[in-house]
């Protein structure tokens, strides 16, 4: 069987003709398999959805209970057969509930990675290497310049700055799903026990993480305005990156803008956004993780999507692995 007959891109997303399903479709389809809950992968309006329990719950939180016609939970490692195609979800280590999807028929196995990372993350199950014939990898940080330092070191820098500027507040920009909870957990692991103040947009997802047994410690809403603002001096506040430009951030005394993102590796990116303390904490694989993972899967062919494709294709070429960009549309520079 030709790999392209098992999976190929269509305007709606990655399509499996024998199974008649899509992976992470960007438009409503009959049957969707969803890797994880980020908005560019998980959209509302599909007739049938298959995803992990956590991803389904997250979609319900974001889009309402009726986000799809029917929803089926996939258990990690358990194979489900759809029209003769064997489908298995494996942990991707990206955010809570994230999975790679293995698609197998006629002795050919393709693994669609979704988004993934290899750095340890206490808020989700770790990435599992799945040997395959074709590996579809993301490439958000697919350039040799992206080498993420250990996240624990980045958190140390944040705590050092908090000690250095006790009269100011530190506002950390972090994506609402995954990054925010990871930053909070890392702070707790580094021994930070004070309440952490969170923007309203994070409250429900933080609550959901806690309900899944991820202990985030004391959290308080960052809501005080007016004369109470001085009470934020010396505190850590976490909000979605978009909140920085909002009037919301004005309530904090002389804030230091921090941003937890893999993009913060590039000084100019930090400068453009007006970030004073960049924290290089990413939920995506860096260059080393991408290339290591491609090797470990043993894939004879690699399809590259979701980000900077050309460098990874070039690297595969040098390594003697067949590779091509997928050119899927609709996935954003998600920025985490």
């Amino acid at each position: 069987m030709n790999a392209r007959d098992l999976l190929h891109p269509r305007p709606e997303g990655l399509y499996c003709p024998p199974g008649d399903f899509y992976i992470d479709p960007v438009r409503p389809v009959g049957r969707a398999l969803i890797t994880h809950g980020h908005a560019d992968h998980a959209r509302a309006g599909n007739r049938a959805v298959l995803a992990t329990r956590e991803t389904l719950d997250i979609m319900a939180i974001r889009y309402g209970e009726d986000f799809a016609g029917t929803a089926q939970a996939a258990r990690l490692g358990e194979t489900i057969t759809i029209n003769g195609v064997r489908v298995t979800f494996h942990p991707a280590g990206h955010v809570l509930g994230s999975a790679q999807i293995s698609v197998e028929a006629n002795g050919l196995r393709i693994v669609a990675s979704g988004d993934y990372k290899r750095q340890p993350d206490p808020t989700c199950a770790g990435f599992e290497t799945v040997p395959c014939d074709v590996f579809i990898t993301e490439a958000t940080f697919g350039l040799p310049v992206f080498v993420h330092p250990p996240s624990t070191e980045e958190i140390e820098r944040l705590l050092k700055s908090v000690a250095q500027f006790p009269e100011r507040s530190h506002i950390v920009g972090a994506y609402a799903l995954g990054k925010a909870q990871r930053v909070i957990t890392l702070l707790r692991q580094a021994g930070y026990e004070k309440p952490i103040f969170i923007h309203g947009a994070l409250a429900r997802l933080c609550g959901y993480y806690e309900s899944r047994g991820i202990n985030l410690g004391p959290l308080e809403p960052a809501t005080v305005e007016g004369p109470g603002r001085e009470s934020y001096a010396g505190e850590i506040v976490i909000g979605p990156p978009s909140a920085f430009v909002d009037r919301w951030s004005r309530r904090f005394p002389d804030p230091i803008a921090c941003f937890a993102s893999g993009w913060m590796r590039i000084r100019q990116r930090a400068k453009q956004r007006g970030v004073e303390l960049p924290l290089i904490i990413s939920d995506h694989a860096d260059w080393t993780e991408l290339t290591d993972t491609v090797r470990q899967t043993g894939a004879r062919e690699v399809w590259v999507t979701h980000g900077r494709e050309e460098a990874l294709v070039r690297w595969c070429e040098i390594e003697g692995i067949a590779a091509r960009p997928l050119h899927l549309v609709g996935y954003e520079d998600e920025g985490d």
């Binding site: 920085f244 909002d246 970030v275 004073e276 900077r308």
Partner: protein, 533 residues
Amino acid sequence: MERFAELLDRLVLTPSRNGKLTLLVDYFRAVPDPDRGFALAALTGGLDFPAVKPAMLRTLVTERMDPVLFAYSYDYVGDLAETVSLVWPHRPRREGGPAPTLSDIVQELATASRSDAPARMAGLLDRLEVPGRFAAIKLATGGLRIGVSARLAKQALAAFGNVEVTEIEELWHGLHAPYMELFAWLEGRAAKPESAAKALFRPVMLSHPVAEGDLEKLDPADYSAEWKWDGIRVQVTCESGISRLYSRTGDDISGAFPDLMEEMRFEGVLDGELLVGDPTEQTRTFGDLQQRLNRKTVSKRMMTDYPVFVRCYDLLQIGDRDTRSLPFAERRKLLEEFVGRLPPERFDLSPILEFEDWKTLEEMRRNPPHPVVEGVMIKRRDSTYVPGRPKGPWFKWKRDPHVIDAVLMYAQRGHGKRSSFYSDYTFGVWSGDPEEPELVPVGKAYFGFTDEELRQIDKFVRDNTIDRFGPVRAVRADRNQGLVIEVAFEGINRSTRHKSGVAMRFPRISRLRWDKPTVEADRIETLFDLLGD
């Protein structure tokens, strides 16, 4: 090295002066000698390693990685030092010995020859992590432009040691990296270093602006007045055959002015204004002087087209005699004799203005005879030369600023406290066909308004955005709609970098004209008229 690298990274992204001072003071406190002294030297431009060239780095890195992958990377990052620091092959930590300290790196680079520099640089990069590699490359290639002036570094030292910044300035040029005796003094472990070196900088005397009602209380007979020239304030120092030209803050700028240095063959210290032109014929504009500023080297052509001279204000030393404790009137007499003996195409006197009362002086201030005058200086005849900005003896009385009415065109988010506000504004004036005029941007301003006005403009920007580019928003600005702002500025220069052909000096917003229709804003010709050439 990690701590120095971290300091650099934070300084680059910290917009506020106070924030930078905290970072510097904490660094001086936390890091031992001699590393902190080398860091100080690096920040104040006191280190130079001619053997390492940027092109060499590119060769080194492409010997170690696929050139195509390097090209993709460099294209994305845009900065060579940063790209190399990121893509340099990663070695597990501590392989090849402990990470080098800043002092190790300075030592290694200082003793490198052109032939072994590449190998030494590669050896250093192998032993460093990403931030350390970036700092080492910037250090080696002299690219440490990180928004810390030598002045700010000296202020941090003053805060660290709880001394006056003028004390640091006075000592500065007699000290050398790694500044161990300076730190010992600042930490109270040793006496103040004696400066035996010659041609040191003397901290300059500064003035206060004339405030409402100041002059009425003063007797004009006690004061002397002269023009305030629009160049840069300098100190000309010649001692025991050593000559130096210093900026107002004690930066040694001799290297940029070899034409002037050649004529500095006397024994004495002068305070004056650096200007372009030939004083026996004409004094040229600040725009012309700018051609000569901030250059490391200067071409013959540059020196012929833009010759510099010093218009002298004061005399601080003659031969061995320190004259700073004499009254101004006596110093002035000595100055007149002294300057009379100097080459007239390089040195002249700032003339004394005759005035009976403050009203006469006010007239002169309003109608200066020369476009390169930016106001008048008023000095007490009996004032000694005191470093710093003492209250009382000297005043500056500036010409009123120019103002124009312009239209807000773009707004950009600010930094720090203002990061949620659109606080940096680009404004334009009308140009072209009077029937079909177009707005051309003529400048940027980010201060001059109150917090309340900032809120109002921010709201206007958010409500009238027509386009966005990253942190910048384009706002509605046409003949029917838009916000007129009154912009005050000190002067205007020709500029090839600006589409309009002119650049304003020190523009700031002086008033918001919510009442004014955009069609009544000024035209570009108003600015051209101010060029004065």
